[in-house]
């Protein structure tokens, strides 16, 4: 009887997951494999596809624009990640203090708010607030006496990157703070109490107890920021003319992938960029998860 019912349920279970599996294969994995196939071809939508072998990949590793786009993407991530995580860490620490119990939810909600708003809306808003001649931000700085002349923020490579990095940091620090706070709340109060008895001050407790114990959450937030950072598209795309101006300073990898595929109609080369990006993301994720789980047994 038992084996009969087990067999019966085994088939039933597959029925339950079959629709999802079919859709996953059709709508997610098939386009991915198809992209991989196209990455070995020359294709402009109009003329027939032509097999090129590894030519697209050879071009990719020597393409200065591609390499620059990878560098830009990385740089913009680097410009915001430590600031973002630093702020999140300090805020999470204060939010997990007892005296915050009443206003905690309000602050978390406000800090998290920018994360929910459509990125293209935020980028459009920031682009016009920062406009050279008519932007409110310049007028504000002039009124405050901080500058004499309006600054053409988005015409400078440094400021264009800084604005992009700030916008992303602004959208994501609340998310990081909430996750880190949840990690901190899980730490046993006893640990802090015995440290207090041993004469540890607040900073020592933070460094020696809090930080090591939230390391998994910290790594998770870090990895999420890196994966998201490598896929950076919406904000730099809207902040510029789509080409990453000035001087391609905020041309990200996904923007380059989009431009090559759908503006220049080099779909084969665009597909190769996709897989270049995919490889980078997989490598980075694997490396990060090794750091996350590698030292689990306390061997350091």
């Amino acid at each position: 009887m038992a084996s009969k019912s087990a067999r019966k349920y085994s088939i039933t279970g597959l029925y339950f997951i079959l629709p999802f599996l079919v859709m996953l294969l059709l709508f997610r994995l098939y386009p991915l494999l198809f992209t991989f196939q196209i990455s070995f071809m020359r294709w402009d939508l109009l003329s027939p596809r032509e097999f090129l072998g590894l030519a697209n990949y050879q071009r990719l590793v020597a393409d200065p624009v591609f390499l620059q786009s990878v560098w830009n993407t990385f740089l913009i991530w680097l410009m915001n990640v430590f600031f973002r995580l630093g702020v999140a860490l300090v805020f999470a620490y204060f939010l997990s203090q007892r005296f915050f119990s009443r206003s905690k939810h309000f602050f978390m909600a406000v800090f998290y708010l920018p994360n929910l708003i459509t990125a293209t809306s935020i980028a459009t808003l920031f682009a016009i607030l920062l406009d050279w001649r008519t932007g409110t931000f310049n007028f504000l700085l002039i009124e405050l006496g901080l500058i004499d002349q309006p600054v053409y923020w988005l015409n400078s490579a440094f400021w264009a990157r800084a604005v992009t990095a700030f916008t992303i940091g602004w959208m994501w620090f609340g998310y990081a703070a909430i996750l880190l706070m949840a990690g901190m709340s899980a730490i046993s109060e006893d640990l802090y109490e015995s440290a207090t008895i041993d004469g540890a001050n607040e900073f020592q407790k933070f460094r020696r107890i809090t930080i090591p114990l939230i390391r998994p959450t910290l790594t998770y937030v870090f990895v999420i920021s890196l994966i998201g950072g490598l896929q950076n598209f919406d904000i730099p795309m809207v902040l510029t003319d789509g080409l990453g101006s000035p001087d391609r300073s905020i041309l990200t990898t996904v923007m380059y992938l989009y431009n090559q595929s759908f503006r220049n109609l080099n779909l084969g080369y665009g597909a190769a960029i996709s897989f270049g990006l995919f490889a980078v993301i997989m490598a980075v994720t694997a490396a990060s998860f090794r750091t996350l789980y590698g030292n689990r047994d306390g061997i350091e």
């Binding site: 087990a6 859709m23 709508f27 386009p31 909430i178 114990l213 996904v254 779909l267």
Partner: protein, 282 residues
């Protein structure tokens, strides 16, 4: 430690003041852009190019009329809803169906399939963009929402969360007694399990909705008629329409942002509570 009670209270109080000031200023930084957006939406482009305003003006309707004369902002709203509603419903339904299948049945290859599905979370959606475009073109569904909706329904995170929730929240005894009474497996799922999964589904529905609502690159690639673009693409193209009429652009951005803020303040507890769902437990 020579600190007396009073000085400790003072330092506690001082700390509170410092932290509240810091948090208050940061809260201002979070809110001011949206506040300025709303204020600026009520001033004319000409007024905006001459100074900062702290109070609303009376040009909102004027800006609004300029906006709708030249753009498809409300079309964008409807298009976004047309995409986001079926995606959310589908992601939740198939997420629950699949999560339940993994949670409650033993079958060959269960673990491999589950971790395989989980692994697809790591595939960046942009990596499949060229293939998705050609797939949609081959099926003749370019410039329709099928190419956005169908892949959107496939949501591995929803499967993961709903499996975990089913593991912990659905008692086996309920299913057993339903089976005794001769209930079919699919009926057990629909009339007993699905209602019990409601709290988890509600959280997943919010995140799935937000994710697809804010999506920019996929519709940008698959849709090529301006009237058919969802809201994020409409907004991104606002300043292509006119370089100078910033009053109208502010109105457009406001229309896209304010509904999200309102919904967020209604659902904020659930949203913030749901954030830690995806995180690894320490």
């Amino acid at each position: 430690m020579h600190t007396g009670t009073t000085s400790m209270q003072t330092s506690e109080a001082l700390k509170k003041v410092v932290v509240f000031t810091l948090f208050g200023l940061t809260a201002v930084v979070c809110i001011v852009p949206f506040f300025t957006m709303i204020i600026n939406a009520t001033h004319s482009a000409r007024a905006l190019s001459s100074g900062v305003y702290l109070l609303p003006g009376d040009m909102f309707m004027e800006n609004y009329r300029t906006l709708i004369r030249r753009t498809y902002i409300w079309h964008g709203f409807m298009n976004s809803a047309t995409i986001a509603v079926p995606v959310t419903v589908g992601a939740c339904y198939f997420g629950a169906l699949t999560g339940y299948g993994f949670s409650r049945f033993r079958f060959k290859g269960r673990n491999i399939l589950f971790y395989g599905i989980l692994g697809t979370i790591m595939i960046p959606p942009q990596a499949a963009l060229v293939g998705l475009f050609e797939f949609a073109r081959g099926l003749g569904v370019l410039d329709t929402y099928w190419g956005i909706i169908l892949p959107g329904i496939v949501n591995p995170q929803a499967v993961f969360w709903l499996r975990m929730y089913t593991d912990s929240a659905i008692p086996y005894s309920l299913m057993e007694s339903a089976r005794m009474e001769g209930c079919g497996e699919l009926r057990i799922f629909h009339s007993i399990v699905l209602p019990l999964l409601k709290p988890a589904i509600a959280t997943i529905a919010i995140f799935s909705f937000v994710q697809i609502w804010n999506n920019y690159i996929i519709p940008l690639v698959l849709i090529n008629t301006r009237r058919k673009y969802p809201l994020p693409v409409q907004i991104a193209q606002l300043d292509d329409v006119w370089q100078q009429d910033y009053g109208a652009i502010y109105v457009g951005v406001t229309i896209s942002v304010v509904p999200i803020i309102i919904v967020f303040f209604i659902l904020s507890k659930r949203i913030i509570g749901g954030l830690t769902l995806g995180a690894i437990k320490g």
